[in-house]
């Protein structure tokens, strides 16, 4: 079984857990004490990833330290429909947003770590770079809607959507509002409605997907 060095509050680790859940892959989760223990900077984890970041994915001889590569690996093994098809434009769009997702991590992710876990950073700069990235994503989704496509690269979700979704959905954790982005709201809802979708802390259940339960007065 693939082994994921995982932190429950890390949006990058969540990308991999989410992709695995959506494609039906079982992961062996190894919890890393990122906060408060800083275990990712300890000798055992640095031996696997000298960059000192998580997630880390191990599968036999294969050792991955970049979350986008992990998404591609999971999809290629279990559900190739999540990868780009043979269309050149679609392939390019998938790569475009996979690369772009790094900017979300640096800006919105940095703001979140600063505001929530007291990590250092220039919060004003992180937040304004985050807003700039959200605006690009919003326009990208508006244009896709004009092309009749609901997701970033196609009319079906791909690894590009999973790479971008977590840091966007958790932007408010870093003090960046999601109120002014209607296209992002619809896209996020479409992803959260997918069969097999799982949450992470800070992303609530879409309770409307379940019908209202019958009243049960007088005790459980």
């Amino acid at each position: 079984m693939m082994k994921l060095y995982d932190y429950i509050l890390s949006p990058s680790c969540y990308k991999v857990r989410l992709m695995a859940a959506l494609t039906g892959v079982k992961l062996d989760l190894r919890a890393v004490d990122f906060h408060p223990g800083l275990e990712h900077r300890g000798p055992e984890l640095l031996a696997l990833n000298p960059a000192g970041s998580i997630p880390i994915l191990e599968d036999g001889d294969l050792l991955l330290t970049e979350s986008s590569a992990m998404l591609v690996y999971l999809a290629a093994k279990a559900a190739p429909g999540w990868l780009a098809g043979s269309d050149a434009e679609e392939a390019a769009r998938v790569q475009q947003w996979l690369s772009f997702s790094g900017r979300l991590t640096a800006s919105l992710g940095g703001a979140r770590l600063h505001e929530m876990l007291l990590r250092p950073g220039d919060i004003g700069v992180l937040q304004s770079q985050g807003i700039a990235a959200l605006r690009e994503l919003e326009l990208g989704l508006v244009e896709q809607a004009e092309r009749g496509k609901r997701f970033l690269a196609a009319d079906r979700p791909t690894v590009a959507d999973i790479a971008c979704f977590p840091y966007v959905a958790l932007a408010p954790d870093g003090g960046v509002s999601l109120d002014p982005y209607p296209a992002i709201r619809l896209w996020s809802r479409a992803l959260r409605s997918l069969k097999g979708f799982i949450e992470m802390p800070g992303i609530h259940r879409l309770h409307e997907l379940k019908p209202e339960p019958q009243l049960e007065a007088g005790g459980a």
Binding site: I8, L9, P36, M116, L117, L118, P172, P201, G202, G219
Partner: protein
């Protein structure tokens, strides 16, 4: 704004085990302070004028006060009980009133909607009657005979159980809960929320636990509690007003909210109003 009687209370300002001589620069009720270890390895807290503040090291954390505490730091006898594991969950900053953070911790009715499939799940939403009192001898708010159906009450729980709870407000921003301990039915697990008020609308939250659980790895225990608290955080940052309204009329409680009602009454009685809103605005 003057801080009032809350000035003389104890507040958590750091995890003792993580302190070094360089120290941790932080805030306490709008006042910059430094929390550090001195040459002897003891905790030392100073304010911006260099004044040395009173210090206690208990429950994994360093405690201090900007004023003159009239009472010793509250007791948690379970902290000295053999066989328990003590968990420093780590700090989480929240843009909300420190009093709102405490009030949310005292609430069970939100479990099915905010901690879905962990601490609660529809259709098990009903809050049964429970007892609330202000214990005059210790001057604490207590809620007892609280129970709730939980799909996964603790890391050590397998499957759903009806969990028993007791809640205790031990200081204006310090609260302790006692809940069913799945591996040891005769004991209570202890889970606390220690809140450091940075400003009236900003706080650092330090959860801490004293559990009977010999099997679950420490990191899993930390992550379970971080999961729960981070689910609450997005609620706390979206309540309006940010300050806790102490006057009736601004928010509407029901029978399920009796702990919150008692907490607000207790705050008002002591003039603990740092982080509170007194007149409906």
């Amino acid at each position: 704004m003057t801080v009032g009687p809350m000035l003389d209370e104890w507040y958590p300002v750091g995890i003792f085990g993580q302190l070094d001589e360089a120290g941790r620069k932080t805030m306490l009720m709008d006042e910059p302070i430094v929390v550090a270890r001195d040459g002897n390895g003891d905790a030392k807290v100073t304010d911006s004028s260099g004044r040395i503040l009173p210090v206690r090291v208990r429950y994994g954390h360093v405690w201090t006060s900007l004023g003159e505490p009239k009472k010793e730091l509250f007791a948690i006898p379970e902290a000295d009980q053999p066989g328990r594991r003590f968990v420093d969950v780590g700090v989480v900053r929240v843009r909300c009133s420190p009093l709102r953070a405490v009030e949310n911790f005292l609430d069970i009715a939100h479990f099915p909607f905010v901690h879905t499939d962990i601490l609660g799940a529809e259709p098990h939403t009903e809050v049964q009657a429970y007892k609330v009192e202000i214990r005059e001898d210790v001057d604490e708010v207590w809620a007892t005979q609280v129970q709730f159906y939980q799909p996964q009450a603790a890391k050590s729980a397998s499957g759903g159980i009806t969990t028993q709870y007791m809640y205790r407000v031990a200081g204006p921003t310090s609260t302790v809960l006692y809940k069913t301990c799945p591996p040891r039915p005769s004991e209570w697990d202890v889970i606390t929320l220690f809140v450091q008020p940075l400003a009236e609308d900003l706080c650092d939250v330090w959860p801490w636990m004293a559990l009977f659980d010999d099997d679950t790895p420490m990191t899993d225990l930390i992550h379970f509690q971080q999961t729960i608290f981070l689910q609450d955080r997005s609620i706390l940052e979206n309540q309006v007003p940010r300050l806790l309204p102490l006057d009736p009329g601004m928010e509407m409680p029901t029978r399920a909210d009796l702990t919150s009602v008692a907490y607000r009454r207790w705050l008002k009685r002591h003039n603990y109003t740092y982080g509170a809103q007194l007149v409906a605005q």
